[in-house]
Symmetry: C2
Subunit: 385 residues, 2 copies
């Protein structure tokens, strides 16, 4: 079983941060994580950067060296890891691997995306770099791809657009308790249902936003970190892929990569879905959270929509609480940062430091980060054990 | 000490491969590596992709999932690793880490770049994504940056343009013995000196070309691989960074990242520079090979130009032979593939399978892969021990 300690976490506020630069966002998140860990940058052995769009939108690659220099760690081993919207989670996975093998003892993972400086058409097109070239050639974008999944799900299982809307309502409620969320306010089901259609059945408020932000986490192979009264461990880090485009999938109501990655993580740890107290899942669209809750084994296939709609994953009413941060929907989705932020939120929960959005007594947490329309999935299980 | 077995290697021909697609190149290199290893794709646990420019030039990211699917390994864990022209070497580094930690037992690394479909100005601009934004804003490209290094070196150590040319002459000689090289023919020093000026003192034949190609290597934590009479091991994998732009450097006649990464590799293995029989170094420009030979400890600082010029690294006359493949200069430089191809060449040498370009009795080999103008360096030491 994987066992890596989390020494520190930090995130910027997510949002339309027009005054901030990528360098500034990274420094802010990293400095918060270093302070949290009681460490200096010189205590870090290597830097893993999760980012998707800096090359396409910003003409800047080589982000490992760039951010190492910016952080005053000019000679530090540093890499960029990319896998579309799963870049952050994949960076954590590669960081965990490097610790388990002893190549490094303490590493920093930072996820970063700066998206809002570009116009929506540019961003939509750039994001499709995570999809299949045939889909791109056909002019489809991610809302369209997830709308296809939503239609398949609704047709097969009889879910309603109101069930989808309930995901957004819940996640906005959670975000209203998270001062770093992009949209820290509640919305109603009626607002979701009456919001502008984007790709039927998905409406504007079914979709995660375009966001800027960074998140950082410091990991160590020292499982008895000196400073941590409440050390949280990563006990599984698991990745699987699937066909890049939807046409390669056997079943449009499940993301097979999520099923495979999560089952491996459960098998390695002996943790069962019912043991999970708090999860951050990749709700890029409301349908994605419903499918995730099923693919991760929280609810039987076809039961996810009604379960979420009934409040079974909502703070205060659910035993398992999903997306306490507000999720991608309401906390925001700076692509490369998302997978790292998910771990930051779970660590905060397992330490009991989540304030108004704390899930009482949370001991086991899970993160679920997806790239493309399900082409790659990363699952981490964390424990306060 | 790191110890990972190389089970198989494969490369496409490098060159202007207008008839080939990135998918086709990857399949060709991987199939050769699988055949070499006596393995099937189902025997592989994870895929590491080294690539720099697919996002910027081809609007395609998520290459891990893309190539996993293309290779018929639709659910395999897969990642893209990027660090400019060091992307291939960094992919190998992360693959090695994953094996040492036991996350995977047998992994595939593939480096790929498809560059020649774009016009030279686009390519030069895209490559500058590996440099500092201030350099990019000033309109400088990599030939200009390396010309600055060449001028500093010539001024400090009294090397001549003829010494630089000797690197190109040697590497073309080696390439003439490598049927997969982009330029498998010899050139004369006079031809180099009379070739068109690019950025003084660098001329056309001091510069590596724009290339297409892919290279694949299969690595395993099983250090007694069943199929291998002549198992080659990776015994060190080391990375360091430096400032992204030249203005952050203390000394323009050395790449500090190379010094740090190589010294770490030597320290970990007990190998000394004088023990190295064959090396593939990152000769993106002729000056880069001279500086590499010094920074790696093969020659004292300031002596590299004359040593290379005197044939001390040439097949047949040198004890240590550098760039038997032809190097980036004459074998070609498909950016993401280069760092992987370097290991393929060293493995071929250490197995004694390099044919006309075989370095007799080679037991210790080294690879040196650089990103940007020295912002990141990866050094691997391999042994047939």
């Amino acid at each position: 079983m994987t066992k890596v300690s989390v020494l520190g976490v930090g995130t910027t506020k997510f949002g339309e941060l027009w005054e901030a630069s990528p360098r500034g966002l990274v420094k802010e998140a990293v400095n918060e994580a270093l302070t949290d860990a009681g460490l200096k940058i010189k205590d870090i052995d290597a830097l893993f950067v999760g980012n998707m769009l800096s090359g396409i939108l910003g003409s800047q690659e080589n982000l490992g060296a760039l951010f190492a220099e910016e952080l005053g760690a000019q000679n530090m081993p540093a890499f960029k890891i990319e896998g579309a919207c799963a870049s952050g989670g994949l960076a954590v996975h590669n960081a965990v691997n490097s610790l388990l093998g002893g190549s490094y003892k303490t590493v920093l993972v930072v996820g970063i995306e700066k998206m809002t400086d570009h116009n929506p058409a540019e961003i939509a097109q750039a994001l499709m770099a995570g999809g299949h070239d045939e889909e791109r050639a056909a002019g489809v974008t991610f809302p369209g791809l997830y709308a296809i999944l939503a239609r398949a799900y609704i047709e097969k299982f009889g879910a309603t657009e109101g069930d989808l809307a309930a995901v957004a309502v819940k996640n906005h409620y959670h975000a209203s308790l998270n001062p770093k969320a992009q949209f820290p306010f509640e919305i109603t089901q009626d607002q979701v249902l009456k919001s502008a259609p984007v790709a039927e059945p998905l409406k504007l408020l079914d979709c995660s936003p375009v966001s800027d932000g960074a998140a950082a986490i410091i990991l160590s192979s020292n499982t008895k970190a000196p400073n941590s009264k409440k050390t949280v461990h990563i006990i599984a880090s698991s990745v699987a892929t699937d066909s890049l485009g939807l046409k390669g999938r056997k079943d449009l109501t499940t993301l097979e990569a999520v099923v495979i990655a999560s089952q491996k993580a459960y098998r390695e740890t002996g943790i069962k879905p019912a043991d999970v107290d708090v999860a951050e899942v990749h709700d890029c669209f409301t349908i994605a959270e419903i499918m995730a809750c099923e693919d991760l084994g929280f609810f039987a296939k076809g039961n996810g929509a009604k379960a979420v709609s009934a409040g079974k994953t909502r703070l205060g009413t659910g035993r398992l609480v999903v997306n306490t941060s507000g999720g991608l929907k309401a906390c925001g989705h700076p692509v490369g940062a998302t997978g790292v932020k998910q771990l930051c939120e779970i660590v905060t929960q397992l330490r009991g430091e989540a304030g108004k959005r704390q899930v009482k007594g949370a001991k086991i947490g899970l993160t679920h980060n997806v790239g493309g329309s399900g082409a790659v999935a990363v699952v981490h299980i964390l424990g306060n054990l």
